[in-house]
């Protein structure tokens, strides 16, 4: 069985959990479910999660990845938490805009801005 390489780097900034996606090819169909499991596990651990997802290393996107983010967003909201996305490259942002998901998600230019928006 192929070894699973790490997909996420998780850090804590005050009350905010920052999840950095660390593989450029990460957002294809195969990786989505793994990432989804890991981030949802982080949400489950918190009573009122505040999460930033950092897209600095993300160069590709898919509709499955958008679905994963929507599900994550819903789970966080159900726990009265907050989610912000940051550092999205222009090409990737276009995907959010075309699908109108830029109206659903809080999207910030920088990680610091995203963290501050949740505090």
């Amino acid at each position: 069985m192929p070894e699973r390489s790490p997909r996420l780097k998780v850090s804590i900034e005050g009350r905010v959990t920052v999840v950095e996606l660390i593989d450029k090819k990460i957002l294809d169909e195969m990786s989505i479910s793994q990432i989804g499991e890991q981030v949802n596990a982080l949400v489950a651990r918190s009573d009122s999660p505040a999460m930033v997802v950092d897209f600095s290393n993300v160069g590709n996107m898919s509709s499955s990845a958008l679905g994963m983010l929507i599900t994550l967003h819903k789970r966080i909201r159900e726990k009265n938490g907050q989610l912000a996305l940051c550092c999205i490259q222009p090409g990737i942002y276009e995907v959010f805009a075309i699908t109108r998901l830029n109206e659903i998600f809080r999207i910030c230019s920088t990680r610091q801005e995203a963290i501050e928006s949740l505090n």
Binding site: D28, E29, M30, G59, N60, M61, S62, S63, S64, L66, G67, M68, I70, T71, H73, K74, G91, V95, I98, T99, R100, L101, E103, I104
Partner: protein, 140 residues
């Protein structure tokens, strides 16, 4: 004459209904697209559309049945990339897919693949049966 004018990829690839195989095929296509001089924007679009088409073929068309195959016909030169993806499923009516940008559908986790294909490629055409899609991207 540009170097790319001498190069053309015309090939049929067949993969099982398996996401790992799909990933490998995408990488092959993208390598060739890059070698033929497509810019980053075009390469991004081709990769995205191919990913969506392959996932649809594997998951919805072939129902993840590894005994069924997906055929990908590539006809790529320096000016245009034509990708035709065919599954062995019963087919479907693309017009029956709800608009994912409608307010009532915005927060649904699925249903955006075809829309993204149409948004990023210059042409997207399904056969009447619906188990084959032809996508065109111009290199500009």
């Amino acid at each position: 004459m540009r170097p790319g004018d001498l190069a053309r990829l015309a090939e049929k690839m067949v993969i099982p209904s398996d996401l790992e195989a799909a990933r490998g095929l995408q990488q092959q296509v993208l390598q060739r697209v890059r070698r033929l001089g497509y810019n980053d924007g075009c390469a991004f679009a081709i990769r995205l559309a191919l990913e969506e088409a392959l996932c649809n073929a594997i998951k919805h068309g072939n129902g993840m049945d590894r005994r069924k195959v997906v055929e990908v016909d590539c006809d790529i030169d320096a000016d245009r990339a034509v990708l035709t993806v065919t599954d062995q499923g019963r087919g479907f009516d693309p017009a029956s897919v709800p608009d994912p940008t409608a307010d009532e559908n915005l927060e649904k986790p699925t249903g955006r693949g075809i829309m993204l294909m149409r948004a990023f490629m210059d042409e997207v055409r399904f056969t009447e049966r619906g188990n084959q899609v032809r996508m065109l991207k111009l290199n500009r």
